[in-house]
Symmetry: C2
Subunit: 340 residues, 2 copies
DNA sequence: CTGAAAGCGCTTACAG
DNA sequence: CTGAAAGCGCTTACAG
């Protein structure tokens, strides 16, 4: 049915070995090269990656494992990663594990049985497991995105979460805000904790007492951000500024604010997280912490690729990429006085 | 290195053929079965899907091709599809083509060279091409999701787009609205056209004249929905109701409305599209057209699976799944009088 | 630079 | 029910 190296070899009057060498970029006699090229074209030959994989013990696929396929941050990162991987002829096979540790382990063995050559993992709140350790034992490179994984030493691509929060809070402080609320994500996650820590650090640095009622939790969801914001606005002494720590909570918060009578930035200042389409649509445009999703994806991809080529220099490496505080118009300058 | 059928065979004192038969669920002598099971367990044997694929000419992977990995509708559908496919041991390899016809064709040949066994395609504004036709020629099942593709006869899973719009508009009409605006998606797409058609049909059915200034285009994006809404609200005679035809435009519109002084549903009625987390968060909860993404994904998956098993009954089949109009509180009843 | 041959890990007629 | 053997489409020492 499909045309194979054997057919090409016959047509070009060489051995299959020579065809194979041609395909893999080895030098060969000019005349042979030309005849093979012609034969390939005439016959419409295409390599069979499966057969190739069997010999080389390579599947030319990279597993991508994440909590949910509908997570905008992860899919943005993956989009960039895919582009880089495709250049080297790798394709990605994706699995979501619905934030379940058990499902995660299941998916890991599933992907293992498909002989993925490498793994890009967004662990979220999940932890190491034997299934994961087996990858490293078998020399299959694993790259973790925006997470730590205590007890699992592998390459990581992260973002300066602590610093991001620090600068967001600091920016508010520089604008004379002292009543700064944070809407935290799940503290069971690395990003949730780190982003909270940066906030705490900023308050400490500038000698601003931490007020418990300004520390809320939105579970990284739209609804959570919405509820937390409602709760903050209902406080007897509401904050003068709110800082949200991911995209979903940001928009939950914005909707809650829009529903109330308070206005950004006159009545309340606001710093959101992540910069996707909505961030710039709303009015006033939001000051946000922008995560370099494209760069993260490219780094994740190039790191697996590098390991795949056997270059294990510096392993395990951690690339931390800087976020950017995008200053727009959602933060207003308070006058110096404090009414507390 | 890794343990193979040969190792299992040796340990269990049978031939590799027998081990293979065991793996594929054939009956065999009780004593052999037991010894093989033990050997597999002791050796930690796992099948090599690549080798299997070479013999069977199957890769056990399904290609998923879509315009953008960050599209919430598509990723919701894929999530459900993946679940079903995984049950049959298929994994999905995804490619986005960034809404470019050229990239699409490129990805199609790319996936072809990885021997995907089937294809789930979200064509968006792209059209048929030789690369795609080749799949059918080679008996690789292709299922198209929520789109038509003139000149390409294959299985399709769609949604009752026309009817969805018809019922949305009708619902507004039943609530005495006559000045109904629509925010259309790109008319180069199937869903864009169909959703517009349903609106037109409703107006025609109820003898309501079409007003050009109420027909706007939001290009399926947040920003587009935002801009179109601003424009509608600025009209000398603004509509009494707005209907948006996808999720992104819905939230662009909501933000625009929130920024203005008009209130939902008192000043303006609103029907959105798609029901993801935000739809229920905002206040008042939105009346929306809900697309059964889970069902769509399951149908797409089970349809490829069926074709893969050689069951070509009814080919090409078109499953049209019903949307639901979720009635919440964003539509108000007008009094009978008209002020036009 | 190239051919002949063995082999990657599995499956499947064939013969018993 | 099972073994021996050929083969899926490719790669790669080996010898020349």
């Amino acid at each position: 049915m499909s045309v194979t190296v054997r057919d090409v070899a016959k047509k070009a009057n060489v051995s299959v070995g020579t065809v194979s060498r041609f395909l893999n970029g080895y030098k060969l006699r000019e005349s042979n090269r030309i005849r093979i090229e012609e034969a390939i074209k005439e016959l419409g030959f295409r390599e069979n990656f499966i057969a190739k994989g069997l010999k080389n013990n390579r599947s030319m696929t990279i597993g991508v494992v994440l909590a949910s396929l509908t997570d905008l941050f992860a899919t943005s990162v993956i989009t960039a990663a895919e582009r880089v991987l495709a250049q080297d002829n790798y394709s990605i096979v994706v699995c979501d594990f619905e934030s379940s540790q058990e499902k995660l382990e299941q998916k890991l063995t599933f992907l293992k049985s498909r002989s993925v050559d490498g793994l890009i993992l967004f662990p979220g709140s999940c932890t190491v497991s034997d299934e994961l350790r087996e990858y490293l034992t078998d020399k299959i490179p694993v790259v973790i995105v925006n997470d730590d994984m205590p007890g699992f030493d592998t390459d990581k691509i992260t973002v300066d979460n602590v610093n991001a929060s620090f600068r967001a809070a600091e920016y508010l402080i520089h604008n004379n805000h002292r009543d700064i609320a944070i809407i935290n994500g799940d503290q069971g996650t690395y990003t949730g904790r780190e982003r909270y820590n940066g906030y705490l650090e900023a308050l400490r640095t500038y000698d601003i007492p931490l007020r418990d009622e300004y520390v809320t939790y939105g579970h990284f969801s739209n609804r959570g951000g919405y509820t937390a914001t409602k709760q903050l606005l209902a406080l007897e002494h509401p904050p003068s500024a709110i800082y949200t720590t991911n995209y979903y909570m940001t928009f939950g918060a914005i909707i809650a604010i829009n529903e109330s009578k308070v206005k950004i930035p006159d009545d309340i200042s606001f710093i959101g997280f992540d910069r996707f389409e909505l961030s710039d649509v709303i009015n006033p445009p939001l000051t946000v912490v922008e995560q370099p999703t494209k760069r993260l994806g490219e780094l994740a991809a190039s790191t697996v690729l590098r390991r795949l080529k056997g270059d294990y220099e510096g392993f395990p490496v951690e690339h931390s990429v800087n976020t950017k505080l995008i200053i727009k118009e959602s933060v207003s300058r308070r006058d110096g006085s404090s009414d507390s």
